[in-house]
Structures are given as C-alpha cells and as structure tokens.
Amino acid sequence: MAEQFVSKASEFKDGDRQIIRLGEQEIGIFKHEGKFYAYSNFCLHQGGPACEGLTIAGVKEHLREDKTSAGLYFDEASMHFVCPWHGYEYDMFTGEQVADRKLKLKKYEIVQKGDEVYVVA
C-alpha cells in the first residue's frame, strides 16, 4: 500500500469531489465538513459511477408518541451520496448502502500531510 498524492488540500473546498484513477481502480474522494472520505467509484449494483451523483442528507421521519408520522425531515448529522444510475444510496461516513448495510463500497484511507492530500491504495 502506497500513499499517492491527489491534490492540495487548499484547492479542495468543502463539498467538492474528485474522481481519480489509480491503476485499474477508480476512486471518488469527498470533502465533507472538513474531512476526507474515499470510496470505489464502481457501484455495487451494476458498476455505475457511484460517487458522482447527488449528495443528500439522510431522510428520517418524526414520529409522534402514538407512532403516527409528523412528517419527514433531513437529518443533517448524516450525509449520503446517490449513484446516478439507479439510485443506490451510500453512507458518506462508512460507504454502506443505506438500504442494506451489509453492502459496502471499498473504502480508501486518505492521509493529509500539511496542505497535501494522499490516497492510500
């Protein structure tokens, strides 16, 4: 496993993404709330570009005491990214497919050294 330079951290703004190729692997690198996350860009469903779709907070539901719904809301503490092909939704923090957490995108470690961002692969 080697560290490979990806980008200057200062050029990587919060909310930005980079899709890189490293050998035969394609990796999506996200910066979310100051932290970096990197996953394989090959969707577990049918190989679509998993990291290139919408990013969206998780949708949850307010339940009243009697368990009736008081409406849906976005849970800002969570963040998902959605494969643009057929909508597989992945957890930004773990790479798990949120509808079936047994399915997980391959995760890559990101190392930041000063202003430089490296991917470990």
């Binding site: 080697a2 490979q4 330079f5 990806v6 980008s7 703004k13 919060d14 909310g15 930005d16 993404r17 980079q18 899709i19 890189i20 190729r21 490293l22 050998g23 035969e24 394609e26 910066k31 049918q46 190989g47 679509g48 290139e52 919408l54 990013t55 969206i56 907070a57 949708v59 307010h62 009243r64 008081a70 409406g71 849906l72 809301y73 976005f74 991917v119 692969a121």
Partner: protein, 203 residues
C-alpha cells in the same frame, strides 16, 4: 416491483432452457462493463486508451504510458502478449490521474434578511416536529405566504429564476398539492386555467 429473481422463477421452464448462443442474454456485469465503456469511449487517459496502447505498443506499460496522439497501428498478434508481460513487470505504484472534479454548491454570502428567514424556517420546522401546528396564526401565515408568492414571482419575471424548493427540503408531494390547491382556490383559478397559462407562456 418484481425482482429479477422472482421474474426468473415466474418464467416458464421452456424459457430457461439454454438459448442459442446468438440470442444469449449477457450477464449483469458484462452489461455494466459495456455501458461503462460506451460512456467513456476511447478518450486519452482512459483505461480503454491504456489497454489499446498496450496492445499496439509491445513495450508500453499498461498502467503508465498513454498515447497523447493516435499511435500508429502495430500488428495485433505480436503486440498483445508482450504488453501483458511488461505490465506485470511495471515498476513502482501507478500514478493518480484526476478524471473529474465536481464542485460543491457555491457558498453564497447570506444577507441578514436571509438569515432571519432561515431562522424562522428552522423554528417552524421544529415546532411542527413537536406537534405545535398553530405556532403561526392564520393572519400571519396569510401575510407570509402572500409576501413569498409576490417575491418569488417578481424574481421569476425579472429573470432571476431558481428552484422554489432546495434539493434538501423535505416537502412531500401531498404538501405541495395541498398548498397549490389552496393558492389556486384563493385567487379563484381552476387547474385547467393554470395548465392553459403554462402552455401559452411556455413555462
């Protein structure tokens, strides 16, 4: 929606007999690989370009050397095998190649009025979650709704067009239908008039 497995179960037995090779359905992964290749095309720097370069140039590293211009064709049979061997021998780790940069939403400086609107929206959402439906009394709701309608439509007219709901707003289709219906009723408009206006005005 029936799953592919269920569909396969439901299919008559005859349909599952091995079909002649020419009409055989490619596997899921083959379809995905085909679609991906179609999307990518053979563009400089792509895996397809690297593979075709490796086939064309016996000495080329599969993962390193990518032709910037079209390489002159080399005899296929001679090229294929040595390229694979040289790829195995390639020294050092492959280099990072940036394929795409996707920018996040542009940060917009918020005006004090926008800040107040955000705070009010948050307060209303929180109250709703607590079951306090009457936090805003009807006259205040009417004033707010009227002002929002006018400001949004004035912006539209002046060419400052933007989606009325943020992508993240959790508003259901039912919410929208209730509000739209109530707004149309308030100004005595029928749905067909809205449709007519939209088709005339090209909206």
């Amino acid at each position: 929606m029936s799953s592919p497995k269920a569909a396969a179960k439901a299919a008559p037995k005859a349909a599952r007999k091995p079909a002649p090779a020419i009409s055989a359905e490619p596997s899921k992964s083959e379809k995905a690989a085909f679609l991906k290749a179609m999307m990518e095309g053979i563009k400089p720097g792509s895996l397809a370009a690297q593979k075709s370069a490796a086939k064309k140039e016996p000495g080329a590293r599969l993962l390193g050397k990518v032709p910037k211009t079209k390489a002159s064709p080399a005899p296929k049979a001679a090229a294929a095998k040595p390229a694979r061997t040289s790829a195995k021998k390639a020294e050092g780790a492959p280099k990072v190649e940036i394929l795409r940069k996707i920018s996040g939403a542009a940060g917009v400086a918020r005006t004090p009025e926008s800040e107040r609107a955000f705070a009010l929206a948050k307060e209303l959402e929180a109250a709703l979650a607590d079951g306090k439906l009457d936090l805003i009394q009807p006259p205040a709701m009417q004033a707010l709704m009227g002002a929002l309608c006018k400001v949004y439509s004035a912006n539209e007219d002046s060419g400052n067009r933007y989606p009325i709901l943020a992508g993240r707003a959790a508003v259901t289709g039912t919410d929208v239908m209730i509000v739209c219906g109530a707004l149309l009723k308030a100004v005595d408009l029928q749905v067909f008039e809205l449709g007519m206006w939209q088709s005339w005005a090209g909206r």
